[in-house]
């Protein structure tokens, strides 16, 4: 799995938390080992092995200019084929609408008609909160997952080769 996330105004811990959690969730396994290197507080490069044998890379950076939309990519490579949330031969995410007008260029991406006008990331937060409120077991599961990801994150931020040999799936 090849994950990357570049943003503005987020700490490396915030960027890595999201990608580590996606890594365990999409990979359907927990982190067995990781090796992390950092470019100060601006860049992080992780190689991860999950307990089920999947290899994963996570690349993060937080030096996009203020007001930039996040640039991320999640690519899964398997023997049958490849899946990705970015189109082939592209470097940055697409928008739904591009407006070229007298006032310049604008882009719009709306993912939720009920939460229209919210940014995609904000819509996802609202939907996640709603899901947690609807089911107590979901909140409990996510809290356990949070505790585990925080341990992995601490290990990553220590910048050392870290191993989690004991299976600890949540």
């Amino acid at each position: 799995m090849r994950f990357s996330s570049f943003a503005n105004g987020l700490s490396m811990a915030e960027l890595l938390y999201r990608e580590l959690e996606l890594c365990e969730w999409i990979g359907d396994s927990s982190v067995k080992s990781l090796f992390a290197v950092f470019g100060g507080d601006a860049g992080a490069n992780l190689i991860i092995k999950l307990h089920n044998g999947i290899s994963c890379s996570i690349e993060c950076g937080n030096r996009l200019p203020a007001g930039s939309r996040p640039v991320d990519r999640h690519e899964l490579i398997a023997r049958r084929g490849i899946a990705s949330d970015r189109t082939v031969d592209s470097q940055i995410p697409q928008s739904s609408i591009y407006l070229f007008s007298e006032t310049g260029k604008s882009e719009f991406t709306d993912i939720d008609a009920e939460l229209f006008e919210l940014e995609p990331e904000s819509s996802l937060y609202v939907r996640a909160a709603f899901a947690a409120l609807r089911s107590g077991s979901t909140a409990s599961l996510w809290n356990k997952r949070h505790s585990r990801i925080m341990k992995v994150l601490d290990a990553a931020l220590s910048g050392k080769l870290s191993f989690f040999e004991k299976e600890n799936s949540i």
Binding site: R2, S4, F6, F35, A36, V37, F38, G39, G40, A42, G43, A44, N45, L46, I47, K49, G53, I54, S55, S57, E59, G61, N62, R63, L64, P65, V71, I77, A78, R79, G81, I82, V88, D89, Q91, I92, L161
Partner: protein, 360 residues
């Protein structure tokens, strides 16, 4: 004043980059393409089907005898043959364009340096991205301070696997130089995707102006389980100036198993990618070294395909080679410069074997 064209030949014809020289050798007025030598009848037939109008010999000895005025060669051969060929050519005073991996054996590598310096011949290592216009722009932007000091680099050099067309790239002895297991409980051997992709190791050195300090590397299970060499791996580490990096030199794009590369090679739509993301103190650069491109479906397999842009870096590469031969200069990508890249790649294999980071 115009210089006399350099009389040049191609040897072996078994390397995947062989055919990339044909047009440049034909059209560049600074060269006179006089001969080729084929290592086997398969590559000879493929070459002769192209009607290049250049004589093809089965033996290097015969080619040298028939062309005593030959001045230079392109060594388009399996990695395992490079030392023997460099020795033979250098002793004849022939200048050399070497493929991207002269040797993984550092003893052999140093012998190549010694021989070429003793005989005063130019040996230019073929790392064509140095002559790529996108990379030129990238280097210029970095030099102008567009993103400030570089803090982190991510780079891909991901391709389909060439082993079906160029079988030596899947044979450890021919690709890596010997059969070395990747690890204690690993059924595969050194010599796969990593050996095919030195460019990103070279690029991060060239762009950062620093050398590699340490690497950590790990393989994934092969997506082509029948290969006995690695096809999926990741590398991270740090440069001596503190720049963090992550490299993906995998064969992660699936291919049709063609004997001769051509249209329809791709199963995944894009056969090759060299992308970089560079984070600096003042900003971030996203770079695709081979784009923008053209997209099509239709012949031969009705698949959606990225017809990627060929900038033909070989023109600049060959121009520099000719200048160095005629003016007795050292090319920017010479054996001494490239040595650290090969050392770093070897360190990746050591890291895969030990599971630990390895200092260069």
């Amino acid at each position: 004043m115009s210089q006399k064209p350099v009389k040049i030949a191609i040897m072996s014809l078994t390397h995947g980059h062989t055919r990339k020289y044909y047009q440049t050798l034909k059209e560049n007025p600074k060269l006179e393409w006089v001969a080729v030598q084929a290592d086997n009848q398969d590559v000879r037939k493929i070459f002769e089907s192209g009607s290049h109008g250049v004589p093809c010999y089965d033996s290097a000895e015969e080619m040298f005898r028939r062309h005593p005025d030959l001045e230079a060669v392109v060594l388009a051969s399996a990695n395992s043959r490079h030392l023997e060929q460099i020795r033979d050519c250098a002793e004849r005073g022939l200048h050399i364009i070497s493929m991207k991996i002269p040797s993984f054996d550092m003893g052999e590598y140093d012998e190549m340096i010694r021989i070429s310096e003793k005989h005063n011949v130019v040996v230019q290592v073929e790392l064509e991205l140095h002559y790529n216009p996108v990379v030129h722009r990238l280097k210029k932007l970095i030099a102008e301070g567009a993103i400030g000091k570089i803090l982190s680099i991510q780079a891909t050099n991901i391709t389909l696997s060439p082993v079906w067309a160029f079988p030596w790239q899947g044979i450890p002895e021919l690709s890596y130089g010997k059969r070395v297991a990747l690890g204690e409980n690993n059924p595969r051997f050194r010599g796969g995707a990593l050996c095919d992709h030195p460019h990103v190791f070279d690029l991060i050195r060239w762009l950062s102006g620093s050398d590699i300090d340490f690497v950590y590397s790990q393989t994934a299970p092969n997506i082509r389980p029948e290969l006995e060499v690695e096809d999926m791996l990741l590398v991270n580490g740090k440069m001596k100036d503190g720049t963090a990096f992550l490299l993906d030199p995998s064969w992660s794009r699936m291919e049709e198993r063609l004997k001769v590369p051509g249209p329809g090679w791709e199963v995944y739509p894009k056969r090759m990618e060299v992308n970089l993301v560079i984070t600096g103190e003042k900003g971030t650069l996203f770079c695709d070294c081979f784009g923008p491109n053209v997209y099509h479906n239709g012949a031969p397999n009705d698949r959606y395909t990225v017809q990627y842009t060929y900038f033909d870096e070989w023109i600049g590469l060959v121009d520099e080679f000719v200048r160095c031969v005629r003016d007795k200069k050292t090319p920017q990508i010479n054996l001494r410069w490239h040595r650290q890249t090969i050392s770093a790649m070897n360190a990746c294999y050591e890291s895969i074997q030990s599971g630990l980071p390895v200092n260069i």
